[in-house]
């Protein structure tokens, strides 16, 4: 892993957008304002010294009652040329579950964002096909939300029940 200080580079460019940062043995994390995510992603993708060409994972966390903003969307980027990684996080409130899509920058974001919508109910603005990906259309609710009842049962799709 290279020693590039990715946090510093993001801070230099988007100082006011960075809410928090964290670095543990080269495992670098930056928490950003929700509105800046596309801008910052475009920067780390196009900047030659960062060259994040791979969106490895895009997921979400539900911090119900533990953080003022209920959700956090987490992005993991990797540079296959420079062999370094960065994690971006954006807090998302329950009232405003809408995040800008990364589909135009990374094709892999398309399905990841559908998965986050499916299981957490966070919508992505500008996504070309914002539909459920893992569960079926008849499913009500978003099961990885902490307030989804553990014993809640959905109607079976099929001839019986």
């Amino acid at each position: 892993m290279s020693d590039t200080n990715i946090i510093q580079k993001i801070k230099d460019r988007f100082g006011d957008a960075v809410l928090e940062d964290h670095n543990f043995r080269g495992d670098q994390t930056v928490t950003l304002q929700k509105e800046k995510i596309v801008e910052v992603t475009r920067f780390i993708k196009d900047e030659p010294s960062l060259d994040m060409d791979y969106l490895m994972d895009l997921t979400a966390v539900d911090y119900m009652d533990r953080k003022p903003q209920r959700f956090e969307v987490v992005y993991h980027f990797y540079s296959s040329t420079l062999n370094h990684r960065v994690r971006l996080k954006i807090p998302v409130s329950e009232e405003d579950c809408l995040v800008d899509t990364l589909d135009s920058l990374y094709k892999s974001a398309n399905w990841f964002e559908r998965e986050v919508w499916d299981l957490y109910g966070i919508k992505f603005k500008g996504h070309p096909n914002m539909k459920r990906i893992l569960l079926y259309e008849e499913f009500k609710g978003h099961p990885l939300r902490k307030d989804y009842p553990i014993n809640k049962r959905q109607p079976l799709i099929g001839p019986m029940n």
Partner: protein, 194 residues
Amino acid sequence: MGLMDEAVDNVETEINNLKLNAKEALDQLGAEFSGAVYDSILTTKLGKVVGWAQKNALWPATFGLACCAIEMMAMANSRWDAARFGAEVFRASPRQADLMIVSGRVSQKMAPVLKRIYNQMPEPKWVIAMGACSSCGGIFNNYAIVQGVDRVVPVDVYVPGCPPGPEALLYGVIKLQEKILKEAGSEKARQRVA
């Protein structure tokens, strides 16, 4: 004496007459072992013979869903050798199978697929729910997994375990064979094929 007993007696007399006639015919031919032939004729019900044949030629459909499927494959291997019980011919097509071993957790999305495969199997057919997950949902008490495959298809034998070993599954197959033989010739067995 009831009507049924009378009918049974009549049939037995008829069969004995047939056997004696056969013996006479053999005697006339001068066959050497006509007495032995007489002794070696067995009588039974057709339904029982059919059931006996069915129980010794169970053809499972290949329906591996999770880790249980590994144990199911082991059961078919030479070490446990399901062939001893006539249940080794795993069929990739449900049309050629009469036993469905549901080996693993069934997700809500898999349930209609499982139902369709079950419907594609010709009668008579049987289902073994292998392991805790397919029997009752197992550890997966959540939104994604069907809480027991008996909510989707009728189950004949439940094999407990997580996963059950090949010998446990083999025991389940033997239990199913006993069930088939016990049912053979009964109204229930007739309804299966009707």
